[in-house]
């Protein structure tokens, strides 16, 4: 979680000037390895069981799509992966969710650190009421990943470039984030999420408030981000899931009905419930 993480590839010259501030190199796992491993996860809201015993592996450097009708538990499950459900009164999670083998629900886990490793992008773009620059460097600042102005500028540039927004905003970094268009705001939120060098990015319907062009840009971005991060995306658009993901998991009534290669799920699903949902036959 450091400056070096940003500088690891293309930004060699800058990294030389900042290398003394290096904290530690993040332990990105190699391609193909499991990132998250959920085992027998149950989630209760009071007496209501929202997730009923889900087992799911999330693979590194792949996009995993969670699909299913409203209320099926896909967003609830997504929010378990960085303990966003902790903030909901009466919400109880049982079972194990392992991130690189360590249970994230272990009492010793620092939730703030966890959320730096597992970032999140929401349905509606939600930039802070601050400048574009401040939006991006906010995370690195509070996590102490970068402090000097040149470091912050570097983080902002690399993150915005990676989010495909740099060329559009490089000359107006001090204007409010909220002055951008919806699609740009969402890319700003992605830049903010990746500024702290997370290992996993969770996306909860990131394109549902965007027009088709802005959606296409985000989808293009997701495919590029996959090289660096593991991505879990909740989407209501079957076509989007089919386009952007390599793995798909179908949820219904709190159960994980079917999981598999995206291509298989959308061309030849094994379960009737999956078939009925993706072909628009749900009652």
């Amino acid at each position: 979680m450091s400056e070096a993480a940003f500088a690891s590839k293309e930004e060699v010259s800058v990294s030389e000037t900042t290398s003394e501030n290096t904290v530690e190199q993040p332990q990105h796992s190699v391609i193909g390895e499991g990132k998250f491993s959920a085992r027998d996860v149950h989630v209760f809201y009071g007496d209501n069981e929202a997730i009923k015993g889900v087992d799911l592996e999330v693979e590194s450097h792949k996009v995993t799509a969670l699909i299913g009708p409203s209320g099926c538990g896909k967003s609830t499950f997504l929010r378990c992966l960085n303990r966003m459900n902790d903030t909901i009164d009466g919400c109880r999670v049982t079972g194990d969710i392992l991130l690189d083998g360590d249970n994230i629900y272990d009492p010793k886990v620092d939730v703030v650190q966890l959320r730096a490793r597992v970032g999140m992008v929401f349905q509606k773009p939600n930039p802070f009421p601050k400048s574009i620059f401040e939006n991006v460097v906010y995370g690195p600042k509070i996590h102490g990943l970068a402090t000097r102005q040149d470091e912050l500028e570097h983080v902002a540039e690399v993150s915005l470039k990676r989010a495909g927004l740099w060329d559009e905003v490089s000359d107006r970094l001090d204007t409010p984030g909220t002055s951008l268009s919806g699609g740009q705001q969402q890319r700003l939120c992605i830049a903010r999420a990746i500024a702290v060098s997370p290992e996993v990015i969770l996306m909860d319907e990131p394109c549902s408030a965007l027009d088709p062009i802005a959606t296409a840009r985000i989808e293009e971005l997701i495919d590029e981000l996959r090289e660096k991060f593991s991505i879990v995306i909740v989407t209501h658009s079957m076509q989007q899931a089919a386009r952007v993901s390599q793995k798909t998991a179908f949820f219904h009534l709190g159960e994980l009905v079917e999981k598999g290669e995206t291509e298989q799920i959308f061309t030849n699903p094994r379960e009737d419930r999956t078939r009925d949902y993706i072909t628009g036959r749900f009652g």
Partner: protein
């Protein structure tokens, strides 16, 4: 299978199926009519076959148009997607079968003195192909992968008949050079029927894929007429 939430989607898919059924039924009767005209050397009946082929062509154009519209409108998934792609592929197989029937009808004029034994063999071959086509269409309507596989395995008999007709015609032509003109046309007629059998086999493979989402393995070809020679005595 439950119906789609959007009922118009179901109607659109049913329409594709009904076009395929009509095309298939037409092709089936075209084979019968073409071979019958040949057998009786009935020029008028042959002309009717040639004209009727246009109907199959038109249906194919309609089907393509409808299929493309559904793809654009509904972004079909899974079984629906396979169904539409299958209809598109099967329609071109049926269209080709229609073309071969038309080609047989065209040759009726040239075959003024067909050897009666050969014509009988050709008639038998046509009956086999028609039955295969009928059964494959039934398999399509019923969504019956097993039935499709059964048809798929039956093409051997058609190939073998083609081989034997090929040898027989060659022998007649060697015995009597006056048979060469009609004989050559008859070889083409048999080959046309053999190709129809191949298209029916294709359709069987498509249906198998449509229903189960799995492809059938390659079928070993039994048509050896490409390598057949008849030694002079």
């Amino acid at each position: 299978m439950p119906s789609h939430t959007v009922s118009a989607y179901d109607k659109e898919l049913e329409s594709l199926q009904s076009i395929i059924a009509r095309m298939g039924g037409l092709a089936e009767s075209q084979i019968a009519a073409a071979v019958d005209a040949l057998y009786k050397r009935d020029q008028e009946a042959a002309q009717v076959v040639i004209k009727t082929d246009k109907q199959i062509d038109e249906l194919e154009v309609n089907l393509e148009h409808e299929a493309i519209t559904i793809l654009a409108k509904r972004q079909p998934m899974a079984g629906d997607l396979r169904e539409i792609i299958s209809a598109l592929k099967m329609s071109s197989d049926i269209e080709r079968i229609g073309d071969y029937a038309k080609n047989i009808a065209k040759r009726t004029e040239a075959i003024s003195s067909g050897n009666i034994r050969i014509l009988r063999s050709i008639n038998n071959m046509a009956l086999l192909v028609q039955k295969m086509l009928k059964d494959v269409l039934d398999a399509y309507i019923d969504g019956d992968a097993e039935k499709a596989k059964d048809v798929w395995a039956r093409d051997d008999a058609v190939d073998e008949l083609n081989n034997s007709i090929f040898r027989e015609v060659l022998t007649y032509m060697m015995e009597d050079p006056r048979e060469i003109s009609a004989g050559t046309h008859l070889i083409f007629v048999a080959k046309n029927l053999e190709r129809m059998g191949d298209h029916v086999t294709n359709m069987a493979e498509i249906i198998h894929f449509q229903v189960l989402g799995e492809t059938l393995d390659d079928r070993p070809k039994k048509d050896v007429s490409s390598y057949t020679v008849v030694e002079a005595d």
